[in-house]
Amino acid sequence: MNVELTVNGEARSAHDVEPRKTLADFLREDLGLTGTHLGCEHGVCGACTVIVDGDAVRSCLMLAVQANRAEIRTIEGLGTPDDMNPLQESMRDSHAFQCGFCTPGFMMQITALLEENPSPTEDEVRETLSGNICRCTGYESIINGVLKAVGA
């Protein structure tokens, strides 16, 4: 099947996409956007979280063919090492992440949260991030990074 969609503001398309291919694999394999990471591949870990039409979703729990005509944002769209966005800067300054595997999922989930609620409380941040698993940090540095970004 053909898939036409917008990824990070750019129109992208692919032909002959197998219906069984998840959006996560499509982003990584067909579009070469390997910033989206796959941890568990069954919707538990949150590493593959991307933003689809404004909402954070798990890209391993959506088929690529379902994303036809959707607007997708991935970690590649947030900033570059030389030109980080303010959230990325504040996460760096807080030493929020360690190994980096869960980072893209957290960053997209936090981005979606801050777009809906620009000044969340610590409880709201914790609640929202409860679906993302990090095995390095113990989460405190991640929460601190978000709170720093929102000036709390």
Binding site: R20, T22, R58, G131
Partner: protein, 281 residues
């Protein structure tokens, strides 16, 4: 962890979906939000021959309140329901359980009808539907529409009384009396996980209660004896005892049968206390 191969149809209308489902036979399945079905595919626990995707069937995504009934389309997503003022005003127990359903990113895609049709005994919405005497509306290409009371809908583990060629189109919830107090109490190992045990309760301004239990049997359980005891003014302890007396839950890695039964009583007690506090006196 990759789904097996299947045929796929993105239905543009309900009629198209129903026809495809009927022609696909017994191994054709409906794809709603996919938050339970896609993991089942990835884990190779399900091998459907055809997936009929209803995500583009707009007619299934409406929320309507008419007279005493709130009708929620089966493809209304949990996030939409969570944010809906119409739902919060009409059936506050639905709004109350939303934060307990998975995590935010799961609720972005998951649907009301999908949760109901999946019939996981550990899920919240089936218990809410049972407690509130909801009606599930289903449709097939061959036999048209029919309505099933929640009490007749849930049949066992992940099993309902809908036929393979039927699709859940909407769920009707009776609008709660103004001043109804509601509560959800669950015990889970980790926040957002399926509950080991839980209870939902609604207490009306007239002092009657509706109570259903989560994950204590192969399907949600309505605590009718406890409701009757509550109406006669029994203590919360006695009501909780009535709710769990006949339970025979199974045990697993996370909770033994005895523990599950004990905690079910605690959940009922806490939920009732909280719902009663929220109800208009």
């Amino acid at each position: 962890m990759k789904p097996p191969a299947f045929d796929y149809i993105a239905a543009g209308s309900l009629d198209e979906a129903l026809t495809a489902l009927a022609e696909g036979g017994e191994d054709a399945k409906v794809l709603a939000g996919g938050q339970s079905l896609i993991p089942l595919l990835s884990l190779r626990l399900a091998y459907p021959s055809l997936l009929v995707d209803v995500n583009r069937v707009d007619e299934l995504s409406t929320i309507e309140r008419t007279n005493g009934t709130l009708r929620i389309g089966s493809m209304v997503r949990h996030r939409t329901a969570e944010r809906s003022k119409v739902i919060a005003d009409a059936v506050p127990l639905i709004t109350a359980v939303m934060p307990y359903i998975g995590h935010v990113a799961i609720r972005s895609r998951g649907t009301i009808g999908g949760s109901i049709a999946h019939a996981d005994p550990a899920a919240e919405l089936p218990a809410v539907a049972l407690a509130l005497d909801a009606t599930i509306n289903v449709r097939s290409a061959a036999r048209g529409e029919r309505s099933i009371a929640a009490a007749d809908f849930f049949d066992g583990y992940f099993t309902t009384t809908i036929e393979p060629d039927e699709i859940v189109t909407s769920i009707d919830f009776p609008v709660a009396a103004p001043g109804t107090g509601v509560a959800v109490e669950e015990v889970a190992r980790r926040h957002g996980d399926f509950a080991m045990v839980g209870a939902v309760a609604a207490v009306g301004p007239d002092g009657t209660a509706r109570i259903a239990l989560i994950n204590v049997a192969e399907k949600p359980v309505r605590a009718t004896e406890a409701e009757a005891a509550f109406a006669t003014g029994a203590s919360v302890d006695d009501v909780a005892a009535a709710a769990t007396r006949d339970l025979d839950p199974s045990g697993d890695l996370h909770a033994s049968p005895a523990y599950r039964k004990k905690v079910a009583g605690v959940c009922v007690k806490r939920a009732l206390a909280k719902a009663r506090e929220g109800a208009a006196k």
